[in-house]
């Protein structure tokens, strides 16, 4: 296949080039590659990103197929422009052994849309008591371990997990939440929680564990990755740790850089997410952290839920936002068009960095590289309509938001897996 006349987002520049693809690899990037019988995709007016990678997704299968399954999740992913996704282990049964890891890999192969990389649990059953078989899971195809959804309470066990996993080059992706400080809270603690009369979650519930993870990583001299950073103070902790040479990387999500907790005052349960959407000062710090590199990547924390999990009292509703179909739109609208990040920087946050952190094949457009590509029309906009999501999870608080950047083609290993 030859992709002609697209604006190719390279590491440090955007250049109009043709891309020749053979056998799932990028063979040549050059001006005016002559066509000699190959299939031609005219990409004039489109921007070509390295295939987007979302390293924090909940696919819900096995166990919660009413919320999402591997097929619906992969369909939603390629529609959102993602060529690779990593799925969190809070399934039922928990992804804490090689059997579940293999099941997910096999289902994803049958679905054959984007690449799916399972993330294994840190402890058996996510109970925080005994280490899961991290080596076996790695051998079966898991790319990292995480306690997402259920924090490992014991600092001692967490330290052992990080130490043990480092022997398998497996990173811990850490969900930082001190439940004692959350204490039943459902939204950020601040003016909005006071107005709505909903119990607040202080920033310290997140920060205290970020600080703990940084301390553990520093003392062991092993890498750690901080999930979905939402607080300004968390950004500062990570920035300081990076400056001190601690091997810490971090991610954030569109809902933390695009909006503030004012949206919870509607009592729309789709605004309920963990960690909670915070205040303007946090949003600004997140933007600054993305800009200065403190925050390495953008993930969705795509957390699809069934309507029954959300059409209840705010306190009873499940935490989570279905975000994989709007993530790139938010990045283009609130980061690129707002002048926060350049296009190469967006590619870095949404593809290159996740590939580097998890040692995945892909993440940049280069000759000899894998032909995972996302073709986007930056000047076309769309209005978010959760009812029309491909994902089973229609739980987005962003209904009616107008976003720029429409995914036109998602190409995985040189094959078009999605076309608008």
């Amino acid at each position: 296949m030859i992709i002609k006349d697209g604006n190719v987002v390279l590491n440090n520049s955007v250049e109009k080039k043709d891309i020749l693809i053979e056998n799932g690899k990028i063979v040549k990037i050059a001006d005016n590659i002559p066509v000699t019988g190959e299939e031609v995709l005219i990409a004039s007016g489109l921007h070509i990103f390295p295939g987007l990678i979302d390293m924090h997704v909940h696919l819900r299968e096995p166990g919660y197929e009413h919320k999402e399954d591997i097929e619906s999740g992969c369909k939603a992913s390629v529609k959102g422009g993602f060529t690779q996704i990593c799925c969190m282990p809070n399934t039922d049964p928990i992804t804490d052994n090689k059997v579940v890891v293999s099941y997910i890999k096999n289902r994803a192969k049958e679905v054959n849309l984007c690449k799916v990389h399972p993330i294994g649990a840190i402890t058996k059953g996510e109970k925080g008591e005994q280490l899961a078989e991290i080596g076996e899971m790695k051998r079966a195809g898991a790319v990292a371990i995480s306690d997402d959804g259920v924090s490992v309470k014991s600092a001692r066990l967490m330290r052992l997990a990080m130490e043990y996993a480092s022997g398998f080059q497996m990173k811990c992706l850490y969900h930082c939440e001190e439940k004692e400080l959350v204490d039943g809270g459902v939204v950020n603690e601040g003016l909005s929680s006071t107005i709505a009369g909903l119990k607040g979650i202080p920033r310290s519930a997140e920060d205290i564990v970020i600080a703990r993870e940084i301390a553990l990583a520093e003392s062991l001299d092993v890498p750690v990755h901080i999930c979905h950073v939402s607080t300004h103070s968390g950004v500062r902790l990570i920035r300081d740790a990076k400056r001190a040479g601690v091997k810490v990387t971090a991610e954030t999500c569109p809902h933390y850089f695009a909006v503030t907790d004012e949206i919870i005052k509607s009592f729309d349960t789709n605004t309920k997410v963990n960690p909670p959407i915070r205040e303007e000062v946090d949003k600004q710090a997140i933007l600054e952290g993305l800009k200065d590199g403190t925050l390495d990547c953008i993930v969705t924390d795509h957390a699809p839920h069934h309507i029954n999990d959300k059409n209840v009292e705010y306190n009873l509703a499940s935490f989570g936002i279905s975000g994989i179909e709007t993530s790139l739109g938010f990045a283009i609208t609130y980061l690129y068009k707002a002048g926060v990040l350049t296009l190469p920087q967006i590619a870095e946050k949404m593809s290159t960095a996740p590939a580097r952190i998890l040692d995945l094949d892909g993440g940049e457009i280069k000759e000899g590289g894998v032909a995972d590509l996302t073709l986007v029309n930056l000047d076309e906009s769309f209005v978010v309509d959760p009812a029309s999501f491909v994902s089973k999870g229609k739980n987005s608080p962003f209904k009616g938001y107008k976003l720029d950047g429409v995914v036109k083609y998602t190409i995985v290993d040189g094959v078009v897996k999605y076309q608008a």
Partner: protein, 309 residues
């Protein structure tokens, strides 16, 4: 005219709307005082009182208000209904609609629950208290009681002392009183002050003296005993000593001041027995105002309901 299907909170009520409710409530009170409990503005209408939390005073107040207005009244205690069998609030709302209810009066332990019910139910919804959010009719009855004593709410200094954080009464009063031009001073243990409440116009005080000095209204709030066990303050004794209102601290208030409390009172904790029974106390008057205010709200919502049919 109050142009609303529901009364969910005072957060978005205008001065005109509150004034209208208080005016109608004054009329109702006059009728009741004359011994006239037959004011059939809601004859032929059905009111269901749906309480997911225990209550005596508010529930009976709403029930009497509905009955004095001639409505058919049903009482549902959530513990004995299909709610206990796991029915969702949304389904309960649909069921009550299908039974042709005109009004649903709900108390719920979770903030925002009446908003959910109001969204799905065709019936008008009255919030009788939702979690830490609002208790609009309580604040309206408090304002009616104040207005009767002072003639106007404009410029009054209202000192609210106690567990502000968990108090929907304090919040509804703050919203309503600010709208009506009164000044709200608050004093509580630091652990029981909700974050940024000062940004909503409350004046946070550093001492009981600062709060009560020259106050027109001294309002105590009920402290739930489990707040002490949760570690919000060390003992009831210390709480009563620093945040309780006694005869001595009452002397700081204006000579014409009144004492209020939404009840039920923990005697000797929020208020001493002497203060509860003081001539300045309006605690029983508040109970009476409650019936009148709830009648007024039901009448006004019903007028609009009939008007829009």
């Amino acid at each position: 005219m109050l142009k609303r299907k529901d009364l969910l909170g005072l957060i978005d009520l205008t001065k005109e709307e509150i004034t209208e409710i208080l005016d109608v409530a004054s009329d109702m009170k006059r009728h009741l005082k004359d011994g006239d409990k037959n004011l059939p503005y809601l004859r032929g209408k059905t009111v269901t009182i749906l309480f997911y939390e225990n209550s005596t005073r508010t529930r009976t107040s709403f029930e009497l208000a509905s009955k004095y207005l001639g409505a058919t009244v049903i009482n549902i205690a959530a513990g004995t209904s299909s709610v206990a069998k796991g029915e969702t609030l949304v389904d309960t709302g649909k069921t009550l609609d299908a039974q042709l209810n005109d009004f649903l009066i709900m108390r719920h332990p979770m903030g925002g629950a009446p908003y959910l019910l109001a969204k799905v139910a065709k019936a008008g919804v009255l919030n009788a208290g939702d979690g830490m959010n609002e208790h609009p009719t309580q604040a309206l009855l408090d304002m009616l009681t104040m207005r009767e004593h002072f003639g106007s709410l404009e410029g009054l200094k209202v000192a609210i002392v106690g567990d502000i954080k968990h108090s929907r009464v304090a919040k509804s009063n703050l919203f309503g009183l600010k709208t009506m031009g009164a000044k709200v001073y608050m004093y509580a243990p630091q652990t029981l002050i909700p974050k940024d409440i000062d940004k909503l116009g409350a004046v946070l005080c550093n001492s009981k003296e600062e709060a009560l000095k020259d106050a027109d209204v001294v309002m105590g709030l009920r402290i739930q005993l489990e707040r002490q066990q949760a570690g919000n303050f060390p003992s009831l004794n210390e709480y009563a000593s620093f945040y309780g209102v006694d005869g001595k601290s009452l002397k700081l208030a204006k000579p014409n001041a009144i004492i209020m409390h939404p009840g039920p009172v923990n005697r000797g904790v929020e208020l001493t027995g002497k203060v509860i029974d003081h001539e300045k106390s309006r605690i029983e008057e508040q109970v009476f105002s409650g019936i009148a205010v709830r009648m007024a709200v039901l009448k006004l919502l019903n007028d609009y309901r009939d008007f829009t049919k």
